[in-house]
């Protein structure tokens, strides 16, 4: 087009002129324009040009508004379809990378979406769920708030008095125990519930008699999952499992509700009425979860007021702790933030994280897809040029690209669904949350729509550009300005993709390092060969002492100790205000009670100890160094210093080398600011009896069966479950573990998709530079130099990506880890190793494709040029 012709009028003509005559008319106008410019001057020529264009507005010139006959339109579509298939076949490498990358992203997003949907759909199938609630508790301890699904033991027994208007009240206790089944030990997730449990959470009874189970504590109901898991067969009713008899089978609980149990029995122990003033932390923490059903016309605010009036009464008996009750509707429990040891539940925060992951995945895959589509399009400039010369219209070229990208998009979508269903059967065990693999119509439609949108966007970029470009420009050796702009868009997209991937890589590596540091932390004692037993409190206290004494007589038992909580695992340590006797210094500290066998059982490393103080006093205290520091007690003066807790005064008899109850909730709580400030105290009372008994057995001594024999002799009706402290310590941080697991899958997927994108671009670069490589080789360039030349662009992109991603990832990591104790040190060495690894992975992938091209025989590569 002549640069001097009036642009607007030229565009106007191209808009209204019939396509059949446009070329000749525009050509005539331009030829006349040049003649007029030479004879009459530029200004006059432009005026004549404008007039001629306006006079072209006549019926014979204007584009007709009649639609193309249906037959012609379909044949055009078919032609485009055939061309698309041909293009796909010709560029198999691109096609595969595009489709696989997109498909992988779709399948991961499907898993994440279904995990979220599963969580949302939990508890939705119970009857009258609008009127059913769980009573959860907000526990406030000196400014620290914990939202728990449990409520104090006293609440259940008081509920009929507090809420006479409740239609139904049910309480349950989770009960994980060990069972010897067919010669091996299995761990069973059980529930002990009150009689009205199934009235409120109305799980379907598939077989047997639930009345028998309700009326007899030795009869149990198992879930169909349990029956399948242990192949109990069809004739399960009446089967003996330990001391229990199976009398009913319930439907599966896994995808139905927030409670994920395998067997259920009913126990009148839950009807035990504990005194209101009972405030023992241990008892609370192993207490009940309570549910109520109200009538339609019930006033919820009134119920909340009554519950909190009871809470106030309870709080008067507590020191430095207060409760507040909250009603959570049954259908919201799947995403409740109230901590629950049952099931693997996704909280509301977890949903947000999943959604962010999905967004990142979709973004990465879309950028990849667009980039590869654009790169492929640039490869076909000459093809487009020829088509335009022989008469292809802009819209036809545009439609071609859209159709191709949509076709690839559908292939990717199909592959994504295929991968999803292929892995869904087995991946349930790997996903740490409740997961229903069924894909609903709505989900499928959403994913199809997303795929179409991504495909359209990917096709629009090259389609718009190439359809507008002039055929002359396409054959020019030097790219005009517009092509340069298009290349820049692609490079920007690549940098964005690399930046997101670098961010995920750096953040993930820091997160994994933090998690690893918690896993490897030295807890200052050896946990191997230590087991623990829990008992129902308070009925069996004296019997427990008898049991301990009998057990200690066994040669296989080295030592045993009663304790108030399970050091170092328990995540709900008691807190008390501590003061020195003679000063006003006070400290809120974590406190544990144990008998004097603690040291033989745990063998903690001691900084200082004076056993005579322990022997000569009714009770004594053992503390850590942070405790001393915060109370301004010098280490050398620690032993014998009196400490006041409430009305009791106890001397310090020893100092631990490091904290013994590091509270394996990595989120710090008051009194445990961070690892270095964590203060704690162990109160030793020689003849203390608690309902937690910790036992150290001799190595390889097969002590457990012997201990069981002793136990069953004394408690024939009870169930004994020994759990290994070492095993339990390995499964600490379950929330972090879940996060790490999910993060790892998404992380790997994102890296793989980015690598696929890099591979595609590397292939494209190598192929477009075949001539250049061949000539450089002929002139003597080495393979190394050629390869470096080809990866120069990638290196610069990686550098830019890291410069942006590293500070953002660091800031977000510090923010996320803000309330976690012992944050890792962000040293230059740590960053260097992460960055080097990231760069190495990307470069290795790219080099693996480029080096063979660089090694190619120049005779072969230049043969067809």
């Amino acid at each position: 087009m002549n640069k001097h012709t009036p642009k607007f009028f030229t565009k106007l003509l191209s808009w209204f002129c019939h396509d059949d005559f446009y070329e000749e008319l525009q050509g005539d106008l331009e030829e006349s324009f040049i003649k007029n410019t030479n004879t009459r001057g530029l200004r006059k020529a432009r005026a004549i040009y404008r007039k001629e264009v306006l006079k072209m507005v006549r019926g014979s010139v204007v584009r007709p508004r009649i639609s193309i006959p249906q037959r012609l339109r379909f044949s055009l579509f078919r032609m485009h379809f055939v061309l698309s298939l041909r293009s796909i076949r010709r560029n198999m490498a691109f096609t595969l990378l595009n489709v696989v990358g997109f498909g992988a992203a779709i399948s991961v997003c499907l898993f994440l979406a279904n995990t979220i949907l599963t969580a949302y759909n939990l508890d939705k199938s119970f009857s009258n769920k609008e009127n059913k609630y769980r009573i959860s508790t907000i526990i406030n301890t000196e400014g620290d708030t914990n939202f728990s699904c449990y409520s104090p033991a006293t609440l259940f027994s008081q509920l009929p008095t507090i809420l006479p208007e409740a239609k139904g009240i049910a309480g349950l206790k989770t009960n994980t125990f060990r069972l010897n089944f067919r010669g091996r030990d299995i761990i069973v997730e059980g529930i002990e519930a009150s009689a009205e449990f199934l009235n409120i959470l109305d799980y379907k009874v598939l077989a047997g008699s639930i009345e028998t189970v309700i009326n007899d504590p030795l009869h149990i109901a198992v879930t169909e999952d349990f029956v399948k898991k242990y192949s109990l067969g069809d004739e399960v009713i009446g089967k003996q499992l330990g001391k229990y008899i199976v009398s009913a089978v319930l439907e599966s609980t896994t995808l139905k509700s927030h409670l994920d149990f395998e067997w259920l029995n009913f126990s009148e122990k839950l009807d035990y009425v504990a005194p209101v003033e009972y405030s023992y932390d241990y008892y609370f923490d192993r207490s009940r979860t309570n549910y109520i059903e109200v009538y339609d016309e019930a006033d919820l605010e009134d119920i909340k007021e009554k519950l909190n009036a009871f809470a106030v009464q309870l709080n008067d008996t507590l020191i430095n702790k207060s409760y507040k009750f909250q009603l959570e509707n049954l259908s919201d429990l799947g995403l409740s933030r109230a901590s629950l040891k049952q099931a693997n539940l996704l909280t509301g925060e977890g949903v947000n994280v999943m959604l962010i992951f999905m967004l990142i995945m979709t973004l990465i895959a879309s950028i990849n897809y667009t980039n590869l589509a654009s790169a492929k399009a640039m490869h076909r400039l000459k093809e487009i040029g020829v088509r335009k010369v022989v008469g292809s219209k802009r819209i036809q070229v545009f439609n071609q690209f859209i159709l191709e990208t949509c076709l690839l998009g559908f292939l990717g979508l199909a592959l994504g669904f295929l991968l999803y269903f292929w892995f869904a059967r087995d991946i349930k065990d790997l996903i740490p949350f409740a997961f229903d693999s069924h894909v609903s119509i709505d989900t499928a439609i959403t994913f199809i729509a997303t795929s179409i949108i991504v495909s359209l966007l990917a096709g629009i970029v090259p389609g718009l550009f190439l359809s507008r470009i002039s055929p002359l420009n396409l054959f020019r050796s030097k790219s005009p300005g517009k092509t340069f702009g298009f290349q820049r868009v692609r490079k920007v997209l690549l940098v964005i993709q690399l930046t997101i991937t670098a961010f995920v890589f750096v953040f993930g590596s820091l997160f994994w390092k933090q998690y690893n540091s918690y896993q490897k932390e030295d807890i200052g004692m050896e946990l191997g060969d230590i087991y623990f037993l829990e008992f129902d409190y308070p009925d069996s206290t004296q019997s427990l002492l008898v049991f301990k004494n009998e057990m200690d007589k066994l040669s296989q038992v080295e030592a045993s100790s009663f304790m108030s909580q399970l050091v170092p695992i328990d995540d709900t340590n008691g807190l008390m205000m501590i003061k020195t006797e003679n000063s006003n210094d006070s400290l809120m500290t974590s406190i544990t009670w144990a008998d004097s066998s603690f040291f033989h059982t745990y063998k903690p490393k001691m900084e200082l100890v004076d056993e005579s103080i322990m022997r000569n006093n009714r009770s004594s205290m053992f503390v850590n160094k942070s405790f001393l520091m915060q109370l301004n007690i010098p280490l050398e003066a620690a032993l014998g210093t009196n400490i006041r807790t409430g009305n009791e005064i106890r001397p310090i008899a020893g100092v631990f080398e490091q904290a013994i109850s590091s509270n394996y909730n990595p989120i710090v709580s008051p009194g445990k600011q961070n690892g270095t400030n964590f203060s704690e105290a162990l109160v030793v009372i020689p003849n203390l009896i608690q309902n937690l008994l910790v036992v150290r057995v001799a190595p390889n001594s097969n002590a457990i069966p012997k201990i069981e024999q002793v136990f069953l002799k004394l408690f024939p009706d009870e169930n004994i479950v020994f759990r290994s402290l070492e095993d339990l310590s390995k499964s600490r941080y379950p929330e972090l573990k879940k996060a790490v697991k999910i993060f790892t899958y998404v992380f790997i997927c994102i890296i793989l998709i980015t690598l696929m994108g890099q591979m595609g671009i590397a292939i494209f670069n190598a192929e477009t530079k075949t001539k250049e490589i061949g000539i450089r080789k002929v002139l003597g360039a080495s393979v190394t130099k050629l390869s470096l030349n080809l990866i120069k662009g990638t290196l610069i992109q990686i550098l830019i990506a890291l410069l942006i991603a590293v500070p953002i990832a660091t800031l977000l990591f510090k923010d996320a880890m803000g309330s976690y104790r012992d944050p890792i040190r962000l040293s230059p060495q740590l960053y260097a190793s992460i960055l080097i690894l990231f760069t190495a992975i990307i470069l290795a992938t790219v080099m693996s494709l480029i080096v063979p091209k660089a090694k190619a025989n120049p005779v072969e590569s230049l043969r067809n040029e």
Partner: protein, 113 residues
């Protein structure tokens, strides 16, 4: 005009194309008509006339070469068909017949004094 009759401008266009011979395309036809016919016409009006003549079968067209002056766009050359020539002969015969029937005295120019 409808049918196979030639309009005045159409006749002019056909004659101009015949005069131009192989070089009859949009620009040259227009220039020739302006010069020979001593009248201004627009390219659009010419296009309408040429399209109509092509529809009637009096003209054929073919795509010619492109040039840089035309922005890489091809020319469209026009050629009068036999049917077009017949129509021109007929129109000329009709005109000649009518001209021959007019007495000479009626053709003299008369002025009022």
């Amino acid at each position: 005009m409808k049918g196979n009759n030639l309009g005045e401008f159409e006749e002019l266009a056909l004659l101009t194309i015949l005069v131009l011979g192989d070089d009859a395309y949009g620009v040259t036809i227009k220039q020739a008509i302006i010069k020979q016919g001593e009248r201004q016409i627009s390219r659009g009006a010419l296009h309408t006339a040429l399209s109509r003549l092509e529809d009637k079968g009096f003209l054929t067209s073919r795509q010619g070469e492109a040039s840089e002056a035309r922005g890489g766009r091809p020319k469209r050359y026009y050629e009068v068909t036999n049917k077009g020539k017949e129509a021109l002969h007929e129109a000329k015969a009709t005109r000649d017949r009518l001209w021959n029937q007019i007495p000479e005295v009626r053709l003299e120019l008369q002025y009022a004094w």
